[in-house]
Amino acid sequence: MPQYRQFQYKAYQPVMSPYWYFDRWPYLKFMLREMSSIFVGWFAVVILLQLNALVSGPTAYANFQHWMATPPVFIVNILSFVFICFHAITWFMLVPRVVARQVLQRPSPDVLSAAPNFGIWLVASVVVALFALRVI
């Protein structure tokens, strides 16, 4: 900054609105993606509660199952599902791309690096589902 100030221009300093993420859809999308963290925290707690109920006996577990079916909890769970799927998709599109470029040392096609993750996602879901539903 120059010492001489008399005719130094007075620039306009923009201020950012604290609600900047409503300005444009990509920013809102970013904020929604980040908000998935709330739902990750929520459902991690739900799994803990489930574990506790399971260990505490059949009545406690029945109560837990009943609680999961109450409308407010059910709605939050639906939201969690949507948000976390959104997290998963954005994550699978971005992270493998970064790793692939690091490994290959050159730009790599997005789709190719993202594809395996969707495969793993599917397999993992099926395996967990088979266990959870006691098919195996």
Partner: protein, 246 residues
């Protein structure tokens, strides 16, 4: 197609104003006109005091960046007809101090740029006897990041920079990565000291808009995430392997 279009142009005079105001202009709507042509029409025919930067008008000098309907664009390669029937809002690049009308103060960016040492750093300063050789594969490793024209659109698109002016920001980080990946360069350790900081790469929350708005396909967002990976590898080397800290 209507034969005119309305432009709402941000005006700011450092002597008179404390806030940005908007002035509307009606300009001819021509299918081959860029937004910059419309602004030049205003300057030539309606109001000569309208101030904005431009030079090459072919998308390579990087000086004509402005917010067009809220999105950072190079105005010399943005067709105005796509916004018909209008109005089109033209504003100076976001998050930067405004000097006059559509002209921003780019010192903020230049300081950041300098900080990352965007040039080839060698351990000894002796001039090599001959030029450095580089294979096509070595060139490809950084080529994409070397396309940056310093137009600052990515800064205008970056909310992290808006929230935290100390953030080194997309283009500077991409250029740091450009030199780190260059086989001729030896400055990576010093750059990592500057960049593996909270206002360096770790401030980035991967909004990703820098890469979307970049007119040159530089993908600064990718560069930053890659850098995070590199910095993490370095960190683990330093703390887990006693001999890693060299």
């Amino acid at each position: 197609m209507a034969d005119t279009i309305i432009l709402e142009v941000a005006r700011f005079s450092p002597e008179r104003d404390s806030q940005i105001g908007y002035q509307t202009f009606e300009v001819p709507l021509r299918s081959d006109w860029m937004v910059l042509d419309a602004l030049n029409y205003i300057k030539d025919n309606i109001d000569g005091s309208l101030t904005f930067r431009w030079s090459c008008r072919m998308g390579i000098c990087g000086s004509c960046g402005m917010m067009v309907n809220g999105v950072p664009k190079l105005t010399c390669e943005t067709l105005i007809a796509q916004f018909a029937p209008g109005p089109v809002r033209i504003e100076p690049l976001e998050h930067f101090p405004v000097v006059k009308d559509l002209v921003i103060d780019m010192d903020v960016f230049l300081e950041k740029l300098q900080k990352v040492r965007p040039w080839i750093v060698r351990k000894d300063d002796r001039l090599p006897a001959r030029e450095f050789l580089q294979t096509p594969a070595q060139l490809e490793a950084f080529h994409q990041y070397s396309l940056c024209i310093n137009c600052m659109l990515c800064y205008a698109a970056c909310p992290v920079f808006g929230l935290d002016q100390d953030f080194v920001g997309p283009a500077a980080l991409a250029l740091a990565e450009r030199y780190n990946l260059d086989s001729r360069d030896q400055g990576a350790p010093e750059r990592t000291d500057v960049l593996s900081q909270h206002d360096g790469i770790w401030d980035c929350t991967v909004v990703g808009e820098c890469s979307t708005v970049c007119p040159k396909g530089v993908d600064p967002s990718l560069a930053i995430q890659q850098y995070k990976l590199t910095a993490t590898k370095e960190w683990f080397k330093t703390w887990l392997l006693p001999w890693g800290n060299k």
